[in-house]
Symmetry: C2
Subunit: 603 residues, 2 copies
């Protein structure tokens, strides 16, 4: 046997499951730590996609349970439309099997790889089959499967398939068990939180080895699901065109009109005119050379961009603000949804938001939240076009210091939605540096940056005004007392004076000299009723408060006492409780420029 024969004997076909088993890091299974996050991400992607298609408000349960020293069981359950029994083994037990690969529309999952990879990872590290329960509606019973993957064939192996009773009307539950650790728990919680921010229509409950987390809906409306569109003439290559004509029964003009987005009578005639191809030729009869000319002509003719409003589903400015507001309590949030654009024939939309102040950490770099098709990107921040765009902006123009990222209590969110997000790797961690995308991100953030700058300058100015007002209010009672002493009259009520100084909501905290108690008074000098939340951080628990607090937290060894209060115009509210020590008050729910907080213990 000569050498070529010998070498030939070793040649063989490799199944895609074998390939990804060996290269599991390409799918985000490069470490036990990451395995949990990747699996939950893939399962939630599928759940959210399915709920979207069914126009159901997603209700997702995530469970993580340690079942052995280094083995965890991951559970994800949704209220989606369910999967019909004969498909379940393929969806979970075969890589590269799915419904969204060939569709041109925005979706989280596309390749039909993710969840099967998790099943394979379980089989590889523990050998435990994955359990799937799915039910498609009240008329059918739920099915419970135990599934493995025949790696050499990339085909599912069903160990068990039984009908069971399940209290859910419809939905899917998957249980996967593999070697892992919870070392990256913080990252996992970040992932859930970020997912909640960009999917404000979803409710996510999690039980992470006993600890419960709930992310409530911020929006009570299901997303209108994006619809698949035909390819755009500017976004296809020769090979695709050839496959399309090969299987077409149309005449070439109808082929162009029916097969492509945005091609009508006029564009089709124009294309065929330039290509010098008769409109009534059969599309399947065109030679390779004719197809090349046709493809060139398709690129030459002006054709409107693909119908992004149909195939894309941006989150929307209002929902982004609500999502951020619910999860972070900030002094400033603005968001911007840009108009759709196109790269290489693929439509995309950039959305961005900037948040500032509140409880964000004022030291160090700001937070950057990256998203693609409503999915948080947690790894490879440095390799992502979003990071590149953010670092490329001169944030000093917007009153923020900068070291690559802007510094200080700032949060930046960027969402790229596309029918074809150009990820840098199959683990979908970072978006490639496509110039068109980078430009859109930059423009969105620059616009928001200008608004942030206005806010910061206004706040600084308000602070001055407020400080001046606060000084006047602080001194007024003393002046009144002094004057009353001199003129030997009773001390007058200075409140109307305060109101004259400023038509504002004045919150005053002081220690009452007579009772020795802490007193908080709110005067609404504006012309409208206000609804506000009053927070008092105190070493005392305010148990004897005149107005019972709505709730009381402990933070460290201090109490955070919270009242939710409605004050009519020209009215006031008051409470008093035992405690003289260093308490501080703060207020949310009143526009900053209308609010004066006079914390007399603090002065």
């Amino acid at each position: 046997m000569d050498l070529a024969e010998e070498l030939a004997a070793q040649q063989r076909s490799i199944s895609v499951a074998e390939f990804f088993e060996k290269n599991k890091h390409l799918l985000g299974f490069d470490s036990p730590t990451r395995g949990i996050i990747t699996t939950i991400k893939e399962a939630i992607d599928n759940s959210l996609d399915a709920c979207e298609e069914a126009e159901v408000l997603p209700d997702i349960y995530v469970g993580i349970k340690r079942v052995d020293k280094d083995v965890y069981r991951i559970i994800v359950e949704d209220n989606g439309p369910g999967i019909i029994p004969k498909q379940v083994p393929y969806v979970f037990g075969k890589l590269l099997y799915g419904s969204r690969f060939h569709q041109i529309k925005q979706s989280r999952g596309q390749q039909g790889i993710g969840i099967s990879a998790a099943v394979m990872y379980a089989q590889l590290t523990t050998g435990v089959p994955t359990v799937v329960i799915s039910r498609t509606g009240h008329k059918s019973k739920a099915h419970r499967f135990e599934i493995l993957i025949k790696t050499e064939q990339n085909e599912p192996q069903v160990l068990k398939d039984e009908e069971i009773d399940w209290d859910r009307m419809h939905g899917t539950r998957v249980e996967i068990e593999f070697k892992s650790t919870l070392a990256a728990k913080k990252k996992l919680i970040d992932y859930l939180r970020y997912t909640a921010v960009v999917n404000p229509h979803a409710r996510i409950q999690a039980d992470i080895d006993g600890e419960k987390y709930t992310y409530e809906r911020a929006v009570e409306q299901a997303i209108v699901p994006p619809k698949a569109i035909a390819p755009h003439p500017h976004g296809i290559e020769f090979g695709q065109l050839k496959r399309m004509t090969d299987t077409s029964k149309d005449k070439v003009k109808d082929f162009l009109i029916n097969g492509f987005s945005r091609v009508g009578e006029k564009s089709a005639d124009e294309i065929l005119g330039i290509a010098k191809i008769k409109p009534d030729r059969k599309a399947s009869g065109l030679t390779s050379d004719e197809l090349k000319v046709l493809l060139d002509a398709m690129q030459t003719v002006q054709i409107p961009p693909p119908p992004a409003s149909v195939c894309l589903s941006p989150i929307g400015e209002e929902s982004i603000v609500q999502g951020i507001d619910k999860e972070y309590e900030l002094d400033f949030v603005r968001s911007k949804t840009r108009k759709s654009q196109v790269f290489s024939g693929h439509p995309f939309i950039v959305e961005a938001a900037i948040g500032y102040g509140g409880k964000l950490d004022g030291d160090g770099p700001g937070q950057l939240l990256r998203f693609a098709n409503r999915v948080p990107l947690l790894y490879q921040q440095g390799a992502c076009v979003i990071t590149e765009a953010v670092s490329g902006i001169n944030w000093k123009l917007y009153n923020l210091s900068q070291q690559g990222l802007p510094m200080g209590p700032v949060l930046i969110l960027v969402h790229v939605a596309s029918t074809n997000v150009p990820f840098t790797s199959e683990s979908k961690d970072a978006i490639a540096a496509i110039p068109e995308i980078q430009k859109e991100i930059t423009l969105a953030l620059q616009e928001l940056g200008r608004e942030l700058k206005n806010f910061i300058s206004r706040r600084d100015k308000n602070r001055q005004v407020e400080e001046r007002a606060r000084a006047v209010c602080a001194i007024l009672p003393d002046i009144a007392a002094k004057v009353s002493e001199i003129v030997e009259k009773p001390v007058p009520d200075v409140t109307p004076l305060e109101a004259q100084i400023m038509r504002k909501v004045v919150v005053k905290k002081r220690v009452n000299n007579e009772t020795g108690k802490t007193e908080i008074v709110i005067n609404n000098f504006t012309r409208n009723a206000v609804t506000l939340t009053l927070y008092c951080m105190s070493p005392d628990n305010a148990a004897d408060s005149l107005v019972k607090p709505d709730f009381t937290d402990t933070i460290g060894d201090e109490f955070n006492i919270v009242w939710k209060i409605n004050v009519e115009p020209e009215s006031s509210w008051k409470t008093e409780f035992s405690g003289t020590a260093h308490s501080t008050v703060s207020v949310r729910g009143v526009e900053e420029k209308l609010l004066v907080v006079v914390d007399l213990a603090g002065i």
Copy 2:
């Protein structure tokens, strides 16, 4: 039809060819510019691997020809063992088909994806079938194929298969035609050069759209091909172990000894003792739970590391130095091949080299050459563990300034050889940050850094000595003339005096006062013959030189005149040519400490 049924109707299997056609950037086909480099890289990888297996000294031809405004034909031809006709369509027309995927040994290609992806890229962008010619020996005729890929099935489509006459006795030639540009020509030439450096046994000739490049062999010995080894007990997971036992006919003790590297009688007994499994049980009869216990026991027992010397093929310190020396002309090159190490059960070896001075650019950062399994890594330098290791070293300790990378005329080469190089992505651009690998790189470079530091200090000292000697030699003739004038004797020959001052090779350039010509004299005062290359950069072309130059280049508007000279001990060599202007001489081939260059026009 309910929604689940509706969704099910859209589900389908995706072929791996479809997957990679849509995600071609994952394989390095993300831009026309990169397409050429990726294709040539994949083809050369295959050629070098095949030649290695056949123990043939590789002789590779690379051709790039523009055939239309944006269409290039890429040709790669080798003298390897050839591919038997019935395999050719699969090797080039089916993704995930190959011989090396399941073998545990160092090789360039592994997945059987690369070259088929190039065929697919051609079909996608131009529709032109790929031409493959292959011949396996003088007894068989060559076959010429025209191949496409049936994307939906990931199966080859053979348009033509004919026997032809081919003057090569054995080898393979591939011609691929796709849309591209030569915008990254510099990068392509870098790639060829780097490939030559780490494959000094290969000869590569390239014709890049008319420009010829040749990279000659530096080593005349074929590489001993690495051999596949059995998996190491510390490098497998449950799923793999289960597959191995499922197909084994051995008793469990023999299964361990035959199935794994480095497991002998003693280790096998020890493993089975800990696992409490009887040695004569059938391996295929073990339950999942028993396998888990067995796997744990395998991890517990001390087992020697995998036999790296068999399955890995490091380049070797000498070959690396020769490779670098041939392509760069440096003042200092040292290399280090570290002992083999293991990460997650995979053996690996780190080799490194540092070059300094010569024609390297003294401004800006040093050059970093990254290699994995003898393949240059050209992209994503920032994401690579090699870069991380280099930047993590304090180069100031070795007399180099540093801004991340060391600065100045320094070249750093790092080669990671492994049975399983942990690339960060399928395009194989960067190595993941495995701590074991990073540590080895750091240790190798630190050792070389110390040698470099010695060299730099010695050179600085030599420079002082040389400068002093040069000053003496320069003044000697004047002293002699003055003395002879005083004593009224003829001017003595001062050459023996120079020789006494230093047993060196003295190269002296001056303008002869009588003839007005440039004169270069070489005196070999050492006791050995020297062979050296003399370079003279001059605005004059030395056409009337007494000794005809071996060749003359032009660099900018200057001439670089080159003589290759042999000078016996105690002998001298001399030339003279017209030209008085600012010429400079330099010499290579003589140890620096033995060389004195006296450039009198330069003083």
